[in-house]
Subunit: 210 residues, 2 copies
């Protein structure tokens, strides 16, 4: 995602009551944040938040946490919902490689939507479905491990299928044209733009018993 500097991003984020400034403080205590024991779904790389905000509204009995590495991107999501009350939604600014410091056996599902494909082979370890990341995710999951990925990038998708499969994940649902699947689908900003251009979206639901 192209980044634009946003003035006072930090202040803007901290003024939003859905923003968690110090997520590591809540490790093993996330149910206290939401004040219920509903399951928690995590989106890594939430971008401007369209997907997660729509999901949180559609599924009030699931708690959603969106993570984004860049403050200047996250602040766009915050601005969108500044006037809304969505009790089952939280945001954090954090790097996925340190996720084990934030959650322990608390997550039911991870969403990876249009993650950075890192096309160069020497950057493969940065892809969010690299085995090293799958190992980090292992300790986040409460019960069955569930990773749902959407991407327009065919190389990232093929890489993900290989890595997930080798890591023991089973694919219950795969599509190379998400628009043809009869399932509810909340689109990211990026996805909408891509579909309008006639590109196909790849989709996988991967499961692994704990």
């Amino acid at each position: 995602m192209r980044l634009r500097n946003v003035k006072n991003a930090k202040e803007k984020l901290e003024s939003c009551n859905l923003f968690i400034a110090n997520p590591v403080d809540y490790k093993e205590k996330w149910s206290s944040v939401f004040q219920n024991d509903h399951e928690i779904h995590l989106e890594i790389g939430m971008g401007k938040g369209d997907f997660l905000i729509a999901m949180a509204k559609a599924y009030p009995n699931i708690n959603f946490i969106g993570m984004e590495k860049y403050e200047s991107v996250l602040v766009r999501a915050i601005e969108k919902i500044s006037l809304e009350n969505i009790p089952n939604l939280r945001f954090m600014c954090f790097d996925a490689k340190n996720l084990q410091d934030v959650f322990y056996k608390e997550i039911s599902k991870i969403y990876l939507n249009f993650s950075d494909p890192w096309p160069k082979t020497r950057h493969a370890k940065r892809r969010l479905t690299h085995a090293n990341f799958l190992a980090i995710y292992d300790n986040l999951f409460q019960n069955e491990k569930v990773i749902v990925q959407k991407t327009d990038n065919i190389d990232l998708f093929a890489f993900s299928l290989e890595q997930l499969s080798l890591y023991g994940y089973i694919f219950k649902r795969v599509s190379l044209d998400l628009s043809s699947l009869a399932i509810p689908n909340f689109k990211t900003e990026y996805e909408q733009k891509f579909e309008n251009l006639g590109y196909k979206i790849n989709y996988v639901e991967a499961y692994k018993k704990i």
Copy 2:
């Protein structure tokens, strides 16, 4: 594949010394056909044979068997090689649903190239990667099970990934654009035509321990 009637197809097939008229006679005896104990690779739905003929020439220490349901298609392959001597190649006219009558623990690898996608849901059981077929293949394999699929059909490919994964196969190599993979690839007639039109070929190498 569109079928044209070929006059005297049966006679033409039987006049070729690489054609096996009664494959069930060789169950558990295929090494005697080739007079060696090299591994045997099977292509189900070999069409006009371009892939298998090229493979057999490239890998003389592997035995290749091509199977095709329709005599009128198989006869085209036979005509191509009528003047050539390819000792590690055989053909048969047979239906995949009865494969257990032909092989038992003798096959090292199965190729499924551009199989009929059977797009209607009610025909899903006819797709060559349906779990029912995977169960038939189970008894054909000698050691590790290896299925290699190429297809331009994205729905068949997604279906195959689901079925193979649920059946315990692991994906060592996946591509949604085979032309970008740096591996030897012998093209089928159909594949060449499709690539010329700018379509991408999907590819998977699936493995399962016996």
